[in-house]
């Protein structure tokens, strides 16, 4: 069933979009990532103009995150205080990111920077997570190993300490704030929620327990992407509500299935799966950068 999208001005198959939304929603529920890093490139691939793919992707992420975060609130796996600090940083970062994006657009290097960001971040995080989760799996097979209950990292020595009860942490607010800013900048430039960066950052940099990471990350993503959606709609008129609705229908269902499924899988297994997925996307993007492209030329039309 073909459907014409009013803002994107292209005709696409409605079932393709629902399926795409479903797949990304599943990721969202399972890993606590918004899924933007998958949906944005996939939308480019089916012929949606990049600016519209980015803005509408953000809108879709709002829906799947709301769906996911509600499920986590019920299970009491959201650290609202940590989420609030991350969110404050995220809004500042998102505003900064849009500013950087406009400059890049003027120089014509948006695609390159976006791809480079993906390759570098996905590569680093994917490798780190894979190594860590494989080590964790080995440990669980070897019962003689005893995990330290409390690790003191450099982030614990900074001033302005705050209690994060749900996470069982007493750390400075500066590191989570910085993580929020960094994620916000990347979210605006790459057109993603930023969960795939925030989840590992929370685990490895802040030491947040895996149990509350997913819910807290979804909480922050919901608000940052909501802010991004409205900003895109107002300043660039690039949100396609028809496209968003189709993606959302698939997305919310996928997110629910993902959350249920996630509760049954072990954290280490989840992390290995996410690590492999991240490395896969990274590898594909790296090949595009380093191999000679089939088409050396590209067209960009000015905004209406």
């Amino acid at each position: 069933m073909q459907i014409f999208l009013p803002i994107a001005e292209v005709s696409v198959n409605a079932f393709t979009l629902v399926g795409l939304g479903g797949l990304v929603g599943l990721m969202s529920g399972l890993f606590g990532v918004g899924g933007g890093f998958l949906i944005t490139p996939l939308l480019f691939f089916i012929g949606i103009p990049p600016a519209i793919a980015v803005a509408t992707g953000a809108n879709q992420v709002v829906a799947s995150s709301v769906s996911g975060v509600l499920a986590h609130v019920k299970r009491k796996t959201v650290d609202f205080r940590m989420g609030g600090v991350l969110l404050a940083g995220g809004l500042v970062g998102s505003w900064l990111g849009v500013w950087v994006f406009t400059i890049l657009q003027e120089v014509g290097q948006v695609d390159l920077v976006v791809q480079l960001c993906y390759v570098v971040f996905l590569g680093l995080i994917g490798a780190m997570m894979l190594q860590e989760s494989i080590r964790a799996l080995r440990r669980s097979k070897n019962p003689t190993y005893r995990k330290r209950s409390h690790q003191h990292m450099w982030v614990h020595r900074w001033p302005a300490k705050m209690k994060f009860r749900a996470s069982g942490l007493y750390i400075s607010v500066i590191p989570p704030l910085l993580v929020g800013v960094a994620v916000g900048v990347l979210a605006a430039i790459m057109g993603v929620g930023g969960g795939f960066i925030m989840v590992p950052a929370m685990i490895y940099l802040l030491g947040v327990p895996t149990k509350v990471v997913v819910g807290t990350s979804l909480f922050q993503i919901t608000f940052v992407t909501a802010f991004t959606t409205v900003m895109h709609a107002v300043s660039y008129n690039t949100v396609d509500i028809m496209l968003a609705v189709l993606l959302i229908v698939g997305g919310v269902i996928g997110a629910q299935i993902g959350t249920t499924l996630g509760a049954r899988l072990r954290a280490e297994q989840l992390r290995i799966l996410l690590a492999l997925l991240v490395l896969l996307v990274c590898g594909k993007l790296a090949l595009d950068l380093f191999l000679r492209p089939d088409e050396l030329y590209s067209i960009t039309t000015e905004a209406r």
Partner: protein, 294 residues
């Protein structure tokens, strides 16, 4: 004249679009571009005499109609077919010499664009050089009754900007590269692959040098605007007569409403998109909770 009237009546009965008597070609170029210079003085004379002849009274004129003069983009829009049909009106017998040829073009409104070329820098492929085009049509289809090169002289092509490379208007600003030709070729190649630029040689069916028809299919990824249809009558590579007709491409219904809202009330539209997302997310969460309890 009776023949013309009956032809008109037939066309009027044939379709909703009203047939119009064609206009004689203007003696100057249709845009305010500079008049192309012709290196060969003999050719220049021939061009001038042809124009002079046309100006008096074209011996052969186009009478044509379109199967529809507007295209409505609805939610289920998936491209559209337009039939362009017509006849040649003449008071005298068919002149001897090479046979009559017809070219039909359909053109979308033009927009400025930039063409980028990638180059390998430090191991990765990045956009380095660009060419800015002042105006390029978003859609351009050419249908002809025979191979384009054999029926159209270059200076007439330049005058009416019929072939694809000429349909792209001037470069915008100062040219940053030495040779812009590969860039415009790439633009045409990319858009031909997308189905946005089309050349259908033999796409016009001509019967007895009098009746013709052409089917032009509009792709699903159309932009809104006033499209131009031109029908050229050619003899010996020269344009004898031009007929122009507009096609209005408009969004209708929900499409139109959403589009206007997005551009006129962007904040309201953004909040509406957000509300849809939140309600859908919350709704799905509630439904699944019920399902799990049941």
């Amino acid at each position: 004249m009776r023949m013309a009237l009956s032809a008109l009546l037939a066309l009027w009965l044939a379709g909703p679009a009203a047939a119009q008597i064609s206009e004689a070609p203007a003696p100057v170029t249709e845009s305010d571009e500079v008049v192309p210079t012709f290196p060969d003085p003999a050719q220049r004379r021939r061009v001038i005499t042809a124009i002079a002849r046309n100006k008096e009274q074209p011996a052969e004129q186009v009478v044509a109609g379109l199967s529809k003069d507007s295209v409505a983009i609805t939610a289920s829009f998936d491209g559209s077919e337009i039939l362009i049909y017509g006849a040649i009106k003449r008071e005298t017998p068919i002149p001897p010499g090479p046979p009559l040829q017809v070219i039909v073009t359909v053109e979308a409104p033009s927009r400025p664009l930039t063409i980028w070329r990638k180059e390998r820098k430090a191991g990765i492929w990045i956009n380095t050089e660009k060419v800015e085009i002042g105006a390029a049509p978003g859609f351009y289809a050419v249908a002809t009754s025979a191979p384009l090169e054999s029926i159209l002289q270059e200076e007439w092509d330049r005058r009416y900007r019929i072939s694809l490379p000429l349909a792209l208007r001037a470069y915008a600003g100062k040219l940053a590269v030495e040779d812009a030709v590969p860039f415009t070729e790439a633009l045409i190649r990319l858009r031909q692959n997308n189905g946005l630029y089309r050349l259908a040689e033999g796409g016009v069916k001509l019967v007895d040098q009098t009746l013709f028809r052409a089917d032009v299919s509009l792709p699903a990824n159309l932009i809104e605007g006033d499209y131009k249809t031109r029908i050229f009558l050619l003899r010996d590579g020269q344009v004898m007569d031009v007929y122009r007709a507009p096609i209005e491409v408009r969004k209708v219904g929900v499409e139109r409403w959403l589009y206007r809202l997005a551009f006129d009330q962007p904040l309201l539209y953004g909040l509406m998109s957000l509300a849809v997302a939140v309600i859908a997310g919350w709704g799905a969460s509630a439904v699944f909770r019920k399902l799990r309890r049941a």
